[in-house]
Amino acid sequence: MDAESVVFVVDDDPSVLKALTRLLSGEGFRTRPFASPAQFLRDHDPDVPGCIILDFAMPGFNGLELQKHLGGIAERQPIIFVSGQSDIPISVSAMKGGAADFLTKPVDAAVLIPAVRSALRRSAVARERHAESELLQARFSALTSRERSVFELVVKGRLNKQIAGDLGIAEKTVKVHRGHVMGKMRAQTVAELVQMGGRLDALKAAAGESI
C-alpha cells in the first residue's frame, strides 16, 4: 500500500465520524475526516491518492448525487458507501455508478478494512492508468495535423502507398511523417502504435460520454 494514500471519511454524524477515523487510524491508515459533504467538496484534494468512505444519507446531498458530482475523480479515489439501509436498488445504482463497495451500518472492521485496502489498490491502478493516458494524450497533442492524419491511417492498417494516395502526397513524404509519428509517440513497433491508437480512441469516447 502506498504510504501517501489517504482515506477520506465523510459522515455528518460526529460520533460515527470520530469512531470510523479512530478505527482506521488505529489500523495504520492516514485519514481525513469531513463533517459534511459541503466541507468535503470545498476542502477535498482530488489529486491525492486515496479512497472515500461516504455516508449515504446526509442533509443536502444524497450519496448518488455526490458520486455523480465527483464524476471521473471517483475512479482515482474510489467511493465506499456506508448506508443505514440495505436498500438493494440504491446499492445497485451506486455500484453501477462505479462505487468500490456498498456496506451497511453497523460496519464490521473485518469487512471495512479489506474494503478500504482493495479500494486503495484500485486507486493506485487507476492513477497509474490515468498518468499513462495523460502522457499518451500529451504525446498525441505534440503531433502536427498532417502527422495525425498519417497516424490515424497507419492505425487503420493502410499501407504507405495507399496513405500517399489518400492524402495526395508522395510516398516518400509519408515515410518521413511516419518516422516522426513513431518517434514522437515513442513507439518501437507498428503494433505498439496501433495499441496506442486504440487507447486514444477509448479515451476520446469516454470524454465524449462525460460531456
Partner: protein, 769 residues
C-alpha cells in the same frame, strides 16, 4: 343600315353599361367586405401571464363578441415592457410590427397600460399611421404629454390615496404605514406617486418606504412590524436583487408573512390575503375598452370621444381578511364590494328554515288541538286510574320511567316501566331509602344529596349512572329530578328516568374503535418510518462497533494508551445511551395510551418530532424550515398523540411534494402564539395542493387521494386535535402547495378548560366510525 347604327350603338352601350354595373358591384362588394373585416390590434404593456392582463382580455373579448368585430381579425401583442425596457428592444419591436402587419395594417389599435400607449404614441407617424388609437388601463397623470387631447380611452384610477383612506378608516389607530414597492421602472413610478400623495397622511404617523428590497429581506421585515402598523403594497415586478416576479404572487407572500394587514390598489391581489383598497376591476376595464372599440368599429368619430372614466373602480374588500384582523365591516364606505363573504345561515338555508318554522307552527297547532281534546276527555272520564295507565303506556313507549317522591310521607311512587328499568320490585310500596337501594353503592350518597339539595333549592338536578338489575344485567340511565310544590315551596320531587344504555354502548364501542384505529395508524405510520428509524438506531450502533473494534486493535498492538482507551469507552457509553433514547421514543409512540394531560411545550414537541423523522426527510430530499415562535405558552394534553398529529402532517407534506423537483421540496413547520391564548402549529408544503373538490373531504375517514392510502391519517389527526379542544384546518397556499394548521387552547393556570370525556362523546356525532 340606317337603323343598324343605333342598334349597334345600343349593343355597345349595353356592354358598357353592364361592364360599369359589374365594376360597381365588385367595388361595393369589396367595400362591404372591408367594413366587415376591419382588424384590431390589442397591444398590452405587460406579459401574457400577468393575471391582470388575463382579466382584461376576458372582459374585452366578451364585449367584442357582441360587436361587429370578426374574431379572425383581432391580433394580440405583448410588449412585456417592465422586464424589457431598453429603447433598443422597443425599436426592434416596432420594426417587427411594421413587417408583421405590413400586409394587414390594423384599423384600430387598443393600447392597454401606459407603456403600450407611450409606445404607439411616440411612433404614430411611422407605425400604423392610418389606425384609430384607443387606450385603457392608464391613470390620468400617466397620459403621454404629446397625446392628442381627443384620443378615446378609459382612464383608470388605482387610487393609492383612497386605498390608504380605507385602511385608516378601518384602522384609525394606525401609527406606522409601510409602503412596499419594487425596483422596476414601473414599481418606482408607484413609489414616486406614493411619496407625493401620501405626504399629507404623515401627521401623527410615520410613513416608511420599503422600496426596492430583496424579496427575502422584505418578507422578513413584514414579519416583525411594530404594533399598529399597516402595509400598503403597490407593485413589485422586480426586487432589489433583480429577480423578477408577478406582483400578485408577491402580494400573497407579503400577506402570508406579514403580522399587519396589507392594502393594495389592484383587484387581482384580492384573494391573496390582502384586505382591499380602492381599485379598478381589470375585467370591467377590459369590458369598457371593448365597448369603446365597438363604437369605433361602428363608425363613431374617434375625435368625438375624449378620455373618460367609466364605472370601473370602486372599494373592494376581502371579507375573510376583515374577519382575520377583526376589522369592522360597518365602517366600510357605502357601495364597497365585499368579496368572499360567506352566505349567512338565512341565505344558505332560507327554504329549509321557512319549512322548519311552518312545521313547528303546524305541530303546535296539532298539540293545542290534542291538548284540548285530552282536557275534554279527562272531564268526561271519571276514572283517574285509566288516565294514569294511558300516560304510563305513553311514557314507557318513549322509554321513559316516571317517579314521584313525596317528602311529607316519604313515599315513592313509580310507573311500572320505571320499576322495570331500575330493577325495583313491582307492586311494593317504596320509601326513599328503598328507592335509593337500587343504585350502585358508590352512587347512593351522591343521589341522596342531590335529592335533598333539589328539594331545598328548588332547582332541578340530573345525573347519569349505571344500575345493576336483580337478574344481574346492567343498564345505563339518565335521571332528572324536578322539585314541585305549592307557592314555590317544594314538597315532592318528580323524576324522569331514561334508559341510555344503547347510546352509552355505542359511545364506548366508538371510543374503543377509535383507539384501535389510532393505534393502527400509528403502527402503519411507524411501519413507513421503520426504515428511517432503523437508520437512526444504526448510527450509534456503527459508532459503538467501530469504537469497540478500535479498542480491540489498540490492545492487540501492545501496551495500550490508557487515556485513549478511557476516551473510547466514554464514547461507547454515550452512543449506547443515544440508542436507548431512540428505542424509548419508539416505545412511547407505540403505546396504546389513554389521553394524557401533561403540560407540553409545543416547540419542544415539534423539534422532537422533526428529529424523529430526520432521516426520513433526508431520504425524501425534503428541506425543512423550522420557524418556532419565541414565547409560546404550554398546552395541555397528550404528548404522544399530538406528536402523532405533527408527524402525520409532516409525512403528508412530504408525500405531496414527491413529484416536485428536489431543489424545491421545502417544508415549513411553524409555531405561533395567537391572541386569546391559542397556540397554532402549521405545516406548509409546496406540493400539489388540495384539489378544490376535495377540500371539504380531507378530514373524512377512509377518504384518500393517495393510491395506497388508508385515508385515516387526517381524520385521526382531526379527532385528536378536537379531543384537545382545538381545530385542524387545511388550505391551499396562494403560491402553491397546502398548509395544514391546528390550533390548541393554551393550558390556562388553574381552570380546567379541557374535558376529554365530552369530546369522546362528540365523536359519535362527528365521525361515522
Amino acid at each position: 343600315m340606317f337603323d343598324t347604327v343605333p342598334f349597334r350603338l345600343g349593343i355597345v352601350s349595353l356592354r358598357l353599361l353592364l361592364r360599369v354595373l359589374f365594376a360597381l358591384a365588385t367595388v361595393s362588394a369589396a367595400a362591404t367586405a372591408d367594413t366587415d373585416r376591419r382588424s384590431i390590434l390589442v397591444l398590452f404593456s405587460n406579459q401574457p401571464a400577468l393575471p391582470a392582463n388575463q382579466l382584461i382580455l376576458e372582459g374585452l373579448e366578451a364585449e367584442l363578441r357582441t360587436g361587429p368585430a370578426d374574431s379572425e381579425q383581432i391580433f394580440y401583442e405583448y410588449l412585456d415592457a417592465v422586464r424589457f425596457d431598453s429603447p433598443e428592444v422597443q425599436e426592434a419591436t416596432a420594426a417587427y410590427f411594421r413587417i408583421k402587419y405590413a400586409k394587414r395594417p390594423p384599423d384600430i389599435v387598443l393600447a392597454v397600460g401606459p407603456q403600450a400607449l407611450v409606445f404607439i404614441d411616440e411612433r404614430r407617424s411611422t407605425l400604423f399611421p392610418q389606425a384609430a388609437l384607443a387606450f385603457a388601463g392608464v391613470r390620468e397623470e400617466r397620459l403621454p404629454l404629446g397625446l392628442p387631447p381627443r384620443t378615446p380611452g378609459i382612464l383608470s384610477e388605482w387610487n393609492p390615496v383612497r386605498s390608504l383612506e380605507l385602511a385608516l378608516k378601518l384602522q384609525p389607530e394606525t401609527r406606522n404605514i409601510f409602503v412596499v414597492t419594487g425596483s422596476s421602472t414601473f414599481d418606482k413610478g408607484w413609489e414616486r406617486t406614493a411619496r407625493e400623495k401620501f405626504a399629507p397622511f404623515a401627521a401623527g404617523r410615520e410613513i416608511i418606504y420599503l422600496a426596492g428590497l430583496p424579496l427575502d429581506e422584505l418578507i422578513d421585515r413584514v414579519r416583525h412590524l411594530p404594533p399598529n402598523s399597516i402595509i400598503v403594497y403597490l407593485s413589485l415586478f422586480e426586487d432589489g436583487k433583480g429577480q423578477q416576479f408577478l406582483p400578485r404572487d408577491v402580494a400573497g407572500r407579503i400577506a402570508t408573512a406579514a403580522n399587519a394587514p396589507v392594502y393594495g390598489v389592484y383587484d387581482t391581489f384580492i384573494g391573496t390575503g390582502i384586505v382591499g383598497g380602492y381599485m379598478d376591476t381589470f375585467k370591467s376595464v377590459g369590458r369598457q375598452l371593448g365597448v369603446l372599440a365597438n363604437r369605433l368599429l361602428r363608425g363613431d368619430d374617434p375625435g368625438s370621444i375624449s378620455p373618460y372614466e367609466a364605472e370601473t373602480h370602486r372599494y373592494i374588500v376581502d371579507w375573510r381578511q376583515l374577519d382575520r384582523w377583526s376589522l369592522a365591516e360597518s365602517v366600510l364606505p357605502p357601495g364597497t364590494e365585499l368579496r368572499f363573504k360567506p352566505a349567512s345561515m338565512w341565505e344558505l338555508y332560507k327554504t329549509e328554515i321557512l319549512l322548519a318554522i311552518a312545521l313547528i307552527l303546524l305541530q303546535s297547532a296539532l298539540l293545542v288541538k290534542s291538548f284540548l281534546e285530552i282536557k275534554r276527555r279527562k272531564r268526561a272520564e271519571a276514572n283517574a286510574r285509566q288516565s294514569e295507565e294511558r300516560m304510563d303506556v305513553a311514557v314507557s313507549g318513549a322509554n321513559l320511567g316516571l317517579w314521584n317522591w313525596s317528602v311529607r310521607d316519604d313515599a315513592v311512587w313509580a310507573t311500572e316501566h320505571c320499576r322495570g328499568m331500575l330493577g325495583l320490585p313491582r307492586n311494593e310500596p317504596l320509601t326513599r331509602q328503598g328507592f335509593l337501594q337500587h343504585l350502585p353503592a358508590d352512587e347512593r350518597p351522591g343521589a341522596a344529596r342531590r335529592m335533598s339539595a333539589a328539594i331545598q333549592s328548588g332547582d332541578a338536578s340530573e345525573a347519569e349512572y349505571e344500575v345493576t338489575r336483580p337478574d344481574g344485567s346492567s343498564r345505563w340511565v339518565f335521571s332528572m329530578a324536578m322539585p314541585k310544590g305549592e307557592r314555590g315551596k317544594p314538597d315532592h320531587l318528580l323524576g324522569v328516568v331514561l334508559d341510555i344504555t344503547d347510546r352509552k354502548r355505542a359511545e364506548a364501542e366508538a371510543e374503543h374503535q377509535r383507539r384501535e384505529l389510532a393505534h393502527l395508524t400509528r403502527v402503519s405510520i411507524l411501519g413507513a418510518l421503520s426504515g428511517a428509524l432503523a437508520h437512526e438506531l444504526k448510527q450509534p450502533l456503527t459508532a459503538i462497533l467501530s469504537n469497540a473494534q478500535a479498542a480491540q486493535g489498540l490492545l492487540k498492538r501492545g501496551p495500550p494508551d490508557v487515556e485513549e482507551l478511557r476516551d473510547i469507552l466514554a464514547d461507547i457509553v454515550a452512543d449506547n445511551k443515544r440508542a436507548g433514547e431512540v428505542i424509548e421514543h419508539l416505545r412511547t409512540l407505540l403505546k396504546k395510551d389513554e389521553i394524557g394531560t401533561e403540560r407540553i411545550d409545543i416547540n419542544d414537541l415539534v423539534s422532537a418530532t422533526l428529529k424523529l423523522c430526520r432521516s426520513d426527510l433526508l431520504l425524501r430530499s425534503v428541506a425543512i424550515s423550522k420557524e418556532l415562535a419565541g414565547d409560546i405558552p404550554p398546552v395541555k394534553g397528550d404528548r404522544v398523540q399530538l406528536g402523532q398529529v405533527i408527524l402525520n402532517l409532516i409525512t403528508n407534506g412530504c408525500e405531496a411534494m414527491a413529484d416536485r423537483p428536489v431543489s424545491s421540496r421545502l417544508l415549513i413547520v411553524r409555531t405561533a402564539a395567537l391572541a386569546d391564548g391559542i397556540v397554532s402549529v402549521s405545516v406548509t408544503d409546496n406540493g400539489v395542493g388540495i384539489p378544490t373538490e376535495m377540500q371539504r373531504r380531507v378530514f373524512e375517514p377512509f377518504y384518500s387521494t393517495k393510491p395506497l392510502g388508508l385515508g385515516l391519517g387526517l381524520s385521526i389527526c382531526d379527532w385528536i386535535v378536537a379531543a384537545h379542544g382545538g381545530k385542524l384546518y387545511a388550505e391551499n397556499n396562494p403560491s402553491g402547495g397546502a398548509t395544514f394548521r391546528f390550533e390548541l387552547p393554551a393550558a390556562s393556570v388553574g381552570s380546567e378548560k379541557w374535558m376529554p370525556n365530552r369530546s369522546y362523546s362528540s365523536l359519535t356525532t362527528t365521525l361515522p366510525y
